[in-house]
Structure formats: structure tokens, C-alpha cells
């Protein structure tokens, strides 16, 4: 259950990251429309929120909240590294980067 929480939180930050213009453009080749950004961010918030009861369910109120906060930092860090250091496959990266 706590592994699922980490997975959800990481996914949430991936959505947050992809909702920004530079990273969306690098990964999908174009700047996202406002509606799409909203969808991505909504999905991110939902995943973050849903991970909380999972963490509490796994470890109880005290340790669960601490675990959730820790996972938020860990997930954000993982996504930060992935978005900035994972190479982009295919041609969109070179064609549309600038």
C-alpha cells in the first residue's frame, strides 16, 4: 500500500512537471493548451490527495503522515531528475526543442 502511495505521488509530480511549457514541449513537441494544463494539474492533485489515505492506512496517522511528506519530497526529486536528465527518444526532441 505504501509502495502504491509512492507510485501515485511520483505520477502526480510527473503530471505537474508535464503541465509546464518547457517540459511539455520537450516531451510532446508542443506547448500545452490551457485546458490540457488544467487537466494535468487536476489529475496531479487528485493523485497526491489519494496517496494520503493510502499512507495513513499503511502506517497509521502519525507515521503515515510523515511517510506521505517524505514521499512527496522523494517523488518530486525523482521526477525532477527524470525530466531534466532522461534523454528524450525520437526526433521531436531535436526538431522542436528551440
Amino acid at each position: 500500500m505504501s509502495a502504491l502511495a509512492l507510485l501515485l505521488i511520483t505520477a502526480a509530480f510527473a503530471l505537474f512537471g508535464l503541465a509546464t511549457d518547457p517540459h511539455h514541449r520537450v516531451r510532446f513537441g508542443r506547448i500545452p493548451r490551457a485546458a490540457r494544463k488544467r487537466q494535468l494539474r487536476l489529475g496531479a492533485w487528485a493523485a497526491l490527495a489519494f496517496a494520503f489515505p493510502l499512507s495513513v492506512g499503511a502506517r497509521g496517522w502519525i507515521m503515515g503522515s510523515i511517510l506521505w511528506s517524505g514521499y512527496v519530497m522523494l517523488g518530486a526529486g525523482l521526477v525532477f531528475l527524470a525530466l531534466n536528465f532522461l534523454p528524450v527518444s525520437g526526433t521531436t526532441y531535436f526538431a522542436k526543442r528551440d
Partner: protein
């Protein structure tokens, strides 16, 4: 937001971060290592096998103490567990007539270590992970009260720097995922922002709760105003059963394992610490307290048992709201409760905090270098900060790496060996400091970072050959803690080598060119400390 306000915050951020930034770096490095205090206690005593049967070790401790100090005033036993380095014991003998009772003197001769087989054992003399834990707030070579004031003031500056930093770097949340690489100052700034904002909940928590651990020192007035009697507050904060009177009638002690088993059911968690008072006497008493590894609050509850019958005679009162709050905050700071996953998160956040301080200090010079009237002859303040950065940010890790080697190589029979491990740290650091003031920073960075990298990276290989707990053996026997320490050192060694290589390859841009590139930017005016 009001521009004047943000600029004032930028000023605050720059100078609160710089003035005690080097102290903060030391505190962050040692505090981060101290999250693995138990792990380092074990790593620095590689002779000791990991404990598999804690109760058997406890039995051995009781056996040893019963024959060594049968009528001692007190025995103290650290409850062994899978992550502790054996079971540490010490005892206080009966005070001799005419001598004052507090027998801390001669404590060195009154301690022993019980190994995993339950037998007393001798290991190399070392402070182990305790050094890092203590240095984190007591520093070294100075009275602890000074050190705590210095660390306390540094922590306050840190809190100011974090809060003003949130205002100053106004785009940290908008640019949450931004890292512009190979862009000089921009990259440093993005890196500084990233490690700061990714770990922001941790940084705020650790700074604030760090101040809470020092609150009675930094703000004593509440205590002074409410407690006329100096002993009253500790008695309330750390409730303990009253001292027992020795009767002089000898009586055997019940097995401590039975008491510990009963206490663990009553306390709802593992026992961390055991005191036996007036051992071997009819009035003897056993006080056990719950291990802080099993709960958030650092104010752990305790129980007292009659030593001859094993009956429960005293229970610590239920702590009040304020005590629990303080205990929870200190517990959150020290992270003793953390399991492996949470401990790793603590450690990584600590690393992020260390990098935040380090990149902040480097940024101070990076930003000012461009604006120097003559880059070949910078003013004194610039030189001082630049050199201190090399001396501390590169030099202190070199000292730590040298200390790890000293732990392995100093002769076991050496007098004052444990202290010499620490002297080696400071000697290596001093050498690095001298180097950073006689060589150009570009050279000194590479030499010191490179040496640290080499020292750390080859240490795990030395351990494979020279100790019974190398990575391979540790993995095969399932001793993940030792394998983890070695692998972490390897990773850090590689990281230091990588950093050295990056600095070595770095060629600062010629000033004219950088000026033109600057002018070509659409918005050339950067915010003061954005």
C-alpha cells in the same frame, strides 16, 4: 509583490546565508551522517558481528555485570538490537566513604561491550557514529555551551535564510522543474533552487525543530520565570522513580530478559535502555524505558520493577500536551523512529540541505565575479569568501574521508586512538585549508575534491580485503546496513570525482564575450538574488 520588500528580503537572504553559512555546512554534513548513527557505530567497529539474538546478548550482559560489578550502585545497559553495535554497558560502583556519590569519574574503566555471542568483547577504540551526532550540535575542541550558542545562532540565521529565500526566489514554485544546464550562473541558481525547494518541507522542519532542541538554552526565560528550583523542570520533563536505599541484604536479581519481555508488552514497543539500581541487594530496582526507535516522541515512557521479584512498582506518568509536543518535534528532528525507507528519505533530504548551503555559498562568488571591476585582482571580501568556500565545502568532506581511513588504519593498540581518529579529521581539514589559501581556487577545488573522491571510492574495496564486513560478505550474510554504508561511500566517492572532473574541465568565459552574451538576452537585468 512590493519590489522594495523583495529586495530587502534578498539582502537578508544573501547575508544571513553567508555569515554563518560555513558553520551551517558543517552542521548539515555531520547531521546528515548522524542519521546513520547506529550504522556508523557498527561500521566503525567492523570486528563486531551483527546481533541476531538480542535476548541472548542481554543475558550475557547480566551474567557479565553480575560477576564484574555484583554490588554496583547502578548498571546501565543499552538494549541490543539488530542495528546496534553490540550492547554497551557501564556501571557506577558504590561510592567510597568520604567520596561524593556522583561516580562519573573512572567511567572509562567501568564500561564494557557485549558482542553478538553474549560474551564480553574488545574492539578498536572509536567514537563511531557518536562523533557525528555530537559534532552536529557540540562541534569539537570547544566548550559545548559555546558550540551550542554558535549552532543555535546559525540555525536562527538558517530559518531567516529559508523564509527570506522563499520570498526572494519568487519563481521557485513556478519554475519547480526547471534546470537550465551549462548556463553558468543560471545553472547554479537553478540547482540551488531545486535542492532547496524539493526538500523545503524538510528544511523548514529540520531548522525549526533543531531550534526546539536548543530552546531551553536560547530562550531560558520561561523556565526561569516558572521554576525557582533548578531540578524541578528536569524532574517533570524526565520523570524517574525515586532513588532506592540499599538494605545490605544480598538478594539475586531476576533475569532481565523476563522483565524486558513484560515491559515490551506493557510499553507497546521495544525497550531501549535498562538501568539496574543497587544491584545484588534486596532493594534492587530495574528501570526500563521504551526505545526511541519505536515512537515519534523522544520522551519515551519508562517502567520500574522490583529487582528481586520482577513485579512492576512504578509507571512514568502520562506526559502532558507540551511535553508531547516538544518530544514529537525533537523526535522528528532526530528521526530515531525512522524505518529504512524513511531514514533514506531523511538522509537524502539532508544531502539536499547540504547542497543547498554549499550552492548558496558558491553562488555568492559566482554572482559577484561577473561584476568585479578587475577579475584578476578581486577585493579582499571576495577572496576571503572564495577561499573559505574551498577550505570548508571541499576541505571538511576530505577530513571526514580521512577520518574513515584513520578508523581502519590506526593501530588498535594506540593510546588515545579514539581521539586520534578525530585529530586526523582536523589535520586533513587543516591541510586542505592551507592548500586552499596557497593555491588558486581552480586548482585547490580539483585537488581536494579529487582526493576526497579517491579516498571514499577505494574504501569499500579496502573493506572487502581488510575487514570481515566487505560489501560481498555483507550482502551474502544479509547484513544490508554494512553493505549500504559501503555502497553509499562508493557512490559519494564517484560523485566527488565527477565534481572534481567538472571543475577541472571548467573554463571561465572571457569577460568581453560574456558581457556581449549578457546584452543579447531579451531581459538582461536579473533580479538581485532571484
Amino acid at each position: 509583490m512590493n519590489k522594495g520588500f523583495r529586495q530587502s528580503q534578498a539582502f537578508l537572504h544573501t547575508w544571513s546565508g553567508l555569515l554563518l553559512g560555513w558553520v551551517l555546512f558543517l552542521v548539515f554534513v555531520t547531521g546528515t551522517i548522524a542519521f546513520w548513527r547506529d550504522g556508523m557505530n557498527r561500521w566503525m567497529r567492523p570486528e563486531l558481528a551483527p546481533i541476531e539474538q538480542p535476548m541472548q546478548v542481554l543475558d550475557g550482559a547480566q551474567r557479565f555485570l553480575s560477576s564484574k560489578a555484583p554490588d554496583a550502585k547502578s548498571w546501565f545497559i543499552t538494549m541490543p538490537s539488530a542495528s546496534t553495535a553490540g550492547a554497551q554497558l557501564f556501571w557506577v560502583p558504590q561510592p567510597k566513604a568520604g567520596e561524593k556519590g556522583r561516580g562519573r569519574r573512572g567511567r572509562r574503566d567501568n564500561q564494557a561491550l557485549i558482542g553478538a555471542d553474549g560474551e564480553p568483547t574488545t574492539v578498536r577504540a572509536t567514537r563511531g557514529g557518536e562523533f557525528f551526532y555530537r559534532f552536529h550540535f557540540d562541534l569539537h575542541y570547544m566548550p559545548v555551551i559555546w558550540a551550542r550558542w554558535i549552532v543555535g545562532v546559525a540555525a536562527m540565521m538558517m530559518l531567516v535564510a529559508i523564509l527570506s529565500g522563499i520570498v526572494t526566489h519568487k519563481k521557485i514554485f513556478k519554475d519547480f522543474f526547471t534546470l537550465r544546464r551549462r548556463k553558468g550562473q543560471r545553472s547554479w541558481l537553478d540547482g540551488h533552487n531545486a535542492v532547496a525547494v524539493l526538500g523545503l518541507p524538510f528544511h523548514l522542519m529540520i531548522t525549526y525543530t533543531g531550534l526546539v532542541t536548543l530552546m531551553a538554552l536560547l530562550m531560558p526565560w520561561a523556565v526561569v520565570a516558572n521554576y525557582a528550583d533548578g531540578d524541578a523542570l528536569p524532574r517533570q520533563l524526565f520523570p524517574y522513580p525515586q532513588a532506592v536505599e540499599r538494605t545490605g541484604i544480598p538478594a539475586p536479581l531476576v533475569p532481565l530478559t523476563a522483565i524486558v519481555r513484560d515491559a515490551e508488552t506493557r510499553l507497546g514497543g521495544p525497550v531501549g535502555f535498562i538501568e539496574v539500581r543497587e544491584a545484588g541487594d534486596a532493594a534492587s530496582q530495574v528501570v526500563v524505558s521504551r526505545s526511541p526507535a519505536s515512537m515519534l516522541s523522544s520522551r519515551t515512557p519508562s517502567l520500574a520493577y522490583a529487582g528481586t521479584t520482577g513485579k512492576l512498582v512504578w509507571t512514568s506518568p502520562v506526559p502532558g500536551g507540551a511535553t508531547t509536543t516538544a518530544g514529537a518535534m525533537i523526535g522528528l528532528h532526530a528521526g530515531r523512529f525512522a524505518d529504512t525507507v524513511v531514514r533514506w528519505i531523511y538522509f537524502l533530504c539532508g544531502v539536499a540541505g547540504t547542497l543547498m548551503v554549499a550552492t548558496g555559498l558558491v553562488l555568492w562568488t559566482v554572482k559577484r565575479r561577473e561584476k568585479l571591476p578587475d577579475p584578476n585582482r578581486p577585493h579582499f571580501g571576495f577572496i576571503l569568501v572564495e577561499r573559505l568556500n574551498v577550505a570548508v565545502l571541499a576541505g571538511f568532506p576530505l577530513g571526514v574521508a580521512a577520518m574513515f581511513w584513520a578508523n581502519r588504519l590506526l593501530p588498535v593498540a594506540m593510546r588515545g586512538r579514539a581521539e586520534w581518529e578525530i585529530h586526523v579529521l582536523f589535520l586533513a581539514w587543516a591541510a586542505a585549508a592551507v592548500l586552499s589559501f596557497v593555491r588558486r581556487p581552480a586548482h585547490a577545488w580539483v585537488m581536494i575534491l579529487g582526493s576526497t573522491g579517491v579516498l571514499l571510492a577505494i574504501l569499500p574495496f579496502y573493506n572487502m580485503a581488510g575487514t570481515p564486513r566487505g560489501i560481498v560478505t555483507a550482502l551474502v550474510t544479509g547484513d544490508l546496513l554494512m553493505a549500504g554504508v559501503d555502497l553509499t561511500m562508493l557512490v559519494f566517492g564517484i560523485a566527488f570525482l565527477w565534481a572534481a572532473a567538472r571543475v577541472a574541465r571548467y573554463r571561465p568565459k572571457v569577460r568581453e564575450r560574456s558581457k556581449r552574451a549578457y546584452a543579447e538576452l531579451p531581459n538582461p537585468v536579473l533580479e538581485p538574488a532571484e
